[in-house]
């Protein structure tokens, strides 16, 4: 408990400062965009309807989806800019998060601002015209000051939304307090999840109070309060900026990782190897499966571990099955040619999609292979992770074996194994390198028709780093060095129910187990 708390606390300066910078940037940008729209909308009913309508629609899009939607958009923009200006930009991390959160912050500011400006006392407006104010003077001297308290209340709401929403920027590769929550959820480190929640709530409360101070100052015309609140907010953001620079989040090598324990461990091994070469390196964790490859291809990350079967089907769009080595060779050539990505080599173990069942249940039904399973599938329930049922492997399995289940459910990978043991489902999609298969006494069903392609863990390197000697020196020793049993054991150290280990510790254990320490 204390060790886990200390581990979370060590990450706080980096996570919190990134979170503060992102939220502040989104809020400031949202404010700057919203205020002119508020003015236009309050003076013209034809502008008002579309502006408020658009903001309301944005609000109904789930925030995670909004963040995710900006990624392909920016990717397209980036490649367009590459064509036109000769260089693109990173479509991952800060930019999509900033844009989505900015949009998200706009509704309360717009709505309150328009309400504030359209409900002003008509007598005051008539007086402003009567004393000889120009439209601009009326806006600046009368309308905006009088609407300011209502507008500020909107800014407060927006701030709370943005700080909460920023935790969701982790999956698109932006470090935030969400890292605690997403990683903690994956490895069931509830201390980390709670730590992230409390930190985000505390940050939201502090920001809300300071903005409240400004709101009161504006409403009662107390400049001291306004400047006190503004001063503290600026100081907080400046401190976050300083902390972010100091913690060196601009490190020279960025290693990507998807959102499960094995990926965290391997990313930790890789960053550690690079550090041993004398260079700084950070991991960007919790990337979506396809996002990770795109990020690599656009040099948003420098290297990560993917699985040959995943790349084969989702990146190369291949649905045929080749023998292992032939597949790797073809992949090496094609990735280099089409994406500039270097396939450094396979690590030595497979993490294939597999179907698994509780041993007692499988034996009772006499199921050993997926073909056996097909006979019983109309009476059974299957659970998968969020990706599984959308993947070509599942479609291939389903069609080739004629699988038709009574019920199909999706789970967080963490809860998936538990769902199998607690009898919520009968069959689950499992990962062959997962330590919980052994620990929970599950059986992996054979695939006699070899429908599922090989899933070798492979190290991929971005186009920009393909010839980088440091990365080569650091990562080449990992090629063919990690056997499946060691990987399973390391995974289980992080995934098991009791006496769980941090991914970083498991990485150290793995490194020493393969004699790289």
């Amino acid at each position: 408990m204390n060790e886990r708390f200390a581990a979370s606390a060590r990450l706080l300066p980096d996570y919190l400062s990134q979170h503060v910078l992102l939220s502040a940037a989104a809020l400031v940008l949202g404010f700057l965009v919203s205020v002119p729209l508020v003015v236009a909308a309050s003076h013209n009913a034809r502008v008002r309807w579309p502006v408020l309508g658009f903001a309301s629609v944005v609000q109904t899009v789930p925030s995670l989806a909004l963040l995710a939607l900006f990624y392909p958009l920016l990717l397209a923009l980036s490649s367009a800019s590459k064509h036109v200006f000769g260089h693109g930009f990173s479509a991952l991390g800060f930019l999509p998060s900033l844009l989505a959160l900015t949009l998200y912050s706009m509704l309360p500011i717009l709505r309150n601002g328009v309400t504030g400006l359209t409900t002003l006392d008509p007598a005051v407006i008539e007086a402003a015209r009567g004393v000889g104010m120009t439209n601009r003077q009326r806006l600046l001297r009368i309308e905006l000051p009088l609407a300011a308290p209502v507008l500020m209340a909107g800014v407060r709401t927006a701030a709370v939304w943005v700080i909460g929403g920023a935790t969701l920027s982790t999956p698109v590769g932006q470090t935030s307090l969400g890292n605690y929550i997403f990683s903690g959820l994956q490895v069931e480190d509830w201390v980390s999840v709670l730590f992230g929640c409390i930190a985000a709530v505390a940050l939201a409360l502090v920001a809300d109070q300071l903005l409240g101070l400004i709101e009161v100052g504006v409403a009662r015309r107390r400049p001291v309060k306004i400047w006190f609140g503004v001063g503290l907010l600026v100081a907080g953001v400046a401190a976050a900026g300083a902390a972010s620079l100091a913690s060196g989040s601009r490190s020279s090598y960025v290693i990507g990782a998807k959102n499960f324990a094995e990926q965290y461990i391997l990313a930790a091994v890789m960053t550690d190897r690079i550090k041993k070469e004398g260079y700084s390196s950070t991991a960007r964790v919790d990337l979506g499966s396809v996002i990770a490859f795109r990020a690599l291809a656009s040099n948003g990350i420098d290297a990560y571990v993917d699985y040959s079967g995943t790349v084969w089907s989702t990146v190369m769009n291949r649905h045929d099955s080749l023998p292992r080595l032939q597949m790797l060779d073809e992949m090496r050539v094609q990735l280099r040619r089409d994406h500039g990505v270097l396939l450094l080599g396979a690590l030595g173990f497979e993490n294939a999609y597999a179907l698994a069942m509780r041993r007692d249940r499988a034996e009772a039904l006499g199921i050993r292979t997926i073909a056996d399973l097909a006979q019983h599938s109309p009476d059974l329930r299957i659970g998968g992770d969020f990706e599984f049922f959308a993947r070509p492997e599942w479609r291939a399995l389903r069609d080739r074996y004629g699988l038709r289940f009574r019920q199909q459910r999706q789970f967080q990978p963490t809860f998936l194994y538990r769902a199998a043991t607690s009898d919520e489902v009968d069959v689950i999609s499992a990962a062959s390198s997962d330590g919980r298969i052994k620990a929970y006494d599950l059986v992996v069903l054979e695939d006699p028709q070899q429908v599922i392609p090989p899933y070798d863990a492979i190290v991929l390197v971005s186009p920009a780093r393909a010839g980088d000697p440091v990365l080569r020196r650091a990562l080449e020793p990992l090629v063919s060095a990690i056997p499946i049993d060691l990987m399973r054991e390391a995974n289980y150290m992080v995934d098991r129910d009791t006496n769980r280990t941090q991914p970083g510790k498991a990485a150290q254990w793995l490194e020493s187990a393969i004699h790289l320490n």
């Binding site: 008539e126 000889g132 009368i142």
Partner: protein, 258 residues
């Protein structure tokens, strides 16, 4: 000073006219009161002088110049405007409210402050009120500030739209007669709109009766109080006379008893 030449105004594209082909002029230093029922067009006439409303047809001119020849805001800075809604700026102190038009005209700060002090004396409020906020004032006090604000930039013309209509009768009477004195001493030209004929008779040098967008009577109060050919005008002007008559009889009865 102010002249209307065949001025018409419709708010619904010509079906109904708020003002229909009105021609009249106001001499310098005159105190003209526009009287009529609500919806008669008297306020529309008034607001066309400082371009809060623009005429559809005809010409309005002030001091010989068509009002459209200068920007509306600069015209309004030369004309005082007081209306029933008062419209003090709630986020500004009394002094800031009074000094707003001089501020817009770019007067130096000390001069604005001196002018605010001078005006608070003129409208008979204590100087300590200069630092108060409008919400701390009673309705009558607020409209005193409203009058001071309108006078701040030394306009020669004052437009008053039911200025004391929302105040209690005693305050209304006091403010009315006090304003009449200011009108004299500052040699102002005043156009006032009211539906209170008594107020019109007491304050005005000249009364213009407006009905359905047209002028139906125009003259000095004592002219209009004697028989007028128009029945509506007769009925209107009868009211103050009857009231005065009743008061006179009451007073007489009391003296006889004593």
């Amino acid at each position: 000073m102010i002249s209307f030449q065949h001025v018409s105004k419709s708010f619904d594209g010509g079906r109904d006219f708020a003002v229909r082909d009105v021609t009249f002029s106001v001499a310098p230093k005159a105190f003209v009161v526009l009287v009529g029922d609500s919806g008669s067009g008297k306020t529309t006439l008034l607001k066309m002088i400082n371009r809060l409303i623009e005429p559809d047809q005809g010409a309005v001119s002030v001091a010989g110049e068509p009002v459209q020849s200068v920007a509306a805001f600069s015209l309004r800075r030369r004309i005082g405007y007081v209306f029933q809604g008062i419209g003090l700026f709630p986020h500004m102190s009394v002094a800031e409210n009074i000094g707003i038009t001089p501020l817009l005209l770019g007067w130096p700060k000390p001069e604005i402050a001196a002018r605010a002090a001078e005006l608070i004396d003129l409208v008979e409020l204590p100087r300590s009120y200069l630092t108060r906020m409008p919400s701390e004032l009673s309705g009558g006090q607020q409209q005193r500030v409203g009058v001071a604000r309108a006078l701040a930039a030394r306009p020669s013309i004052m437009l008053m739209d039911e200025p004391f209509g929302a105040l209690d009768p005693v305050t209304r009477d006091t403010l009315g007669s006090e304003y009449r004195r200011l009108h004299e001493s500052m040699e102002l030209t005043t156009v006032m709109v009211t539906h209170d004929v008594m107020e019109a008779v007491i304050l005005g040098d000249r009364i213009i009766v407006v009905r359905q967008g047209e002028i139906v009577a125009d003259g000095e109060p004592n002219e209009l109080l004697v028989e007028h050919p128009d029945a509506g005008v007769r009925a209107l002007m009868d009211m103050p006379r009857r009231q005065a008559e009743r008061v006179r009889i009451l007073m007489q009865e009391r003296t006889q008893r004593e």
